[in-house]
Symmetry: C2
Subunit: 344 residues, 2 copies
């Protein structure tokens, strides 16, 4: 039985709320809720995130006759820990990682305080769920989702909290139908906040998942957001849950209608080649990955996003008029897929 | 016929020496020597580097009945260019890249001037040869070599110039004999500068090729150096040539005695897995790779170092007492291999 109770280093107790610990889940895994100096009840958010993790794992397991997610429950000496759930070698899913983590620290990392000086010197709690799915069949796109919650507290002022997240899709062979469905579902996830929100988050996603040294998008995008802290914590948490659920709604049907399509070794090789771009993006640009590696995060969890198998081919270019070329020209450029839907 | 004459943007001509251009090589490739504001005759260094490129390609082709290096001669709009020579699909060598490049620029990049403020605002010329060899057989180690030459000029003061370089080895299955030979040959390359130089460059190599987020060395090291500018340019250039030649002397015999060893699919898989570390190091830490990608260098040339095929396995660990575990415990830690030789 693994159990850690992390205590933050600060001694200010002006509005300390000792949250219950440990929390025993019905799957017999013991999570823990560290005492954290905040008036914000993060237990509710944590429970919602863990439910989301479970829901996503179950949705992916529906495609697999035998493969199942395995759990690695881990602790972090500085406070907190996580449950890394990974499934490999499935008939449909070559590798999928669905990670939950919840960590505490004595003072916000420099990368975070640079963005907002009000965060400097605050203790923090950060929790989230990260998902990357690498299917076997090159006709099925790779998908990614992340939702995260931060609280920064100094024991005196009001705690600062915010949510971030999003999901994006990386096809190897493009299907308009899939791209339209993906973005329509992303739009639906944002519906409560109005059309502008989807447009804003969609552009944010296109801007973020851009491989500068290739002048290519990583995929067809989706939504990406950060610093979400209005109108209130309940509304935001409910939106986050909705994002997670809509990720499943967006991805499930695409996997369902593509995973039995026949494919050739050449198409598989193209998938392996394009997976190299995923590695390039994650290791060169992705803020979460770089911050995690540089700040002593759990390497195996951070790098669970890496594809199981991939290739690099020097100076490869698709042949004129091929489906591979169409991936570049039609799918790896920002496109208003929802509007394609209205037109089509 | 491709030919570019790049002219630096400065108009100061106090000691301009117009160097000959183009230089026609006997293999019919046309290189070019851009006019560069310097009293330093970089043509000699450039010719030496190109000869080194040719020598290294020939040394690797000796293992191949049919595979041969192909050339991509490229130009850079900002000035200069290169010849990227890549061989793939060999019987012994799965992929090798041997690159020559020589580029000019109007002002030193920020990353370089941070290190030495005297460089700020100077125009520059940078040339070098980079080599990465990924053999097919997991018993044959991956090797890397780089030599480089910089001149920074402001048209008024003495030009600042320096050399850098080194070579290092990344085994998948360790052999003491190979490690001792590699380091003995590295020591011999430095002999003219005395024992201290090898010791210094050996430590520099161990410090540089360290994968922090894994707490592992990339391989068994070798030598690494930078800012070499004494006693004089002729001596340094001759040392650089010696480093390149000793790379061949160090690597050839190791390939020769390992490439016909039998191996299993499990050993091949371990090689593909460990190649992931190569990618992690190069994309997360390697200064040349990151600078190149971020400064708009030629992506395909920069990433020719990537392995042709690789895997990522979540949370994999070698079994107790296995040769794979021995790689970690004996070979991926800094070790005084020359002294092992004296002991053994």
């Amino acid at each position: 039985m693994q159990l850690t109770l992390a205590v933050t280093g600060t001694t200010k107790v002006s509005h300390l709320v000792l949250l219950q610990a440990p929390v025993i889940e019905n799957n017999s895994t013991i999570y823990y809720q560290a005492p954290f100096m905040s008036t914000i009840d993060s237990v509710k958010v944590e429970r919602m995130l863990k439910n989301l993790q479970q829901h996503i794992c179950e949705s992916l397991e529906t495609f697999e006759p035998t493969a199942r997610f395995e759990s690695d429950v881990w602790q972090r000496s500085e406070g907190g820990g996580g449950n890394s759930r990974v499934m490999t070698g499935g008939d449909v899913i070559e590798k999928a990682g669905v990670l939950f983590s919840s960590i505490q620290g004595d003072s916000m990392p420099a990368t975070a305080t640079q963005r907002n000086s009000a965060l400097a010197g605050r203790s923090y709690q950060a929790m989230g769920v990260s998902v990357v799915v690498h299917p076997l069949n090159p006709m099925v796109p790779t998908s990614h989702m992340n939702v995260r919650f931060f609280i920064a507290d100094n024991g005196v002022d009001e705690p600062i909290w915010w949510f971030g997240g999003g999901f994006d899709l990386t096809p190897y062979y493009g299907f308009d139908e899939d791209a339209i469905h993906w973005h329509t579902t992303a739009h639906a996830a944002c519906a409560q906040f109005g059309d502008d929100t989807y447009e804003h988050y969609k552009k944010w996603c296109d801007d973020y998942f851009y491989i500068k040294h290739r002048d290519e998008q990583r995929g067809i995008g989706g939504i990406f957001f950060d610093d979400l802290s209005s109108p209130d914590i309940e509304t935001c948490a409910s939106f986050i849950e909705r994002v997670g659920q809509h990720f499943v709604l967006a991805y499930q049907p695409i996997v369902a209608r593509r995973h039995e399509l026949p494919y050739t070794q050449e198409q598989r090789d193209f998938q392996l080649y394009r997976r190299g771009r995923y590695v390039e993006f994650n290791l060169v640009y992705d803020r979460g990955t770089l911050f995690g590696l540089q700040s002593g995060g759990r390497t195996e969890s951070i790098l669970m996003s890496m594809p199981p198998l991939l290739r690099f081919d020097y100076n490869w270019t698709p042949s004129k008029g091929s489906p591979e070329e169409k991936l570049y020209s039609r799918y790896l450029v920002p496109r208003d897929w929802r509007n394609e839907s209205l037109q089509g």
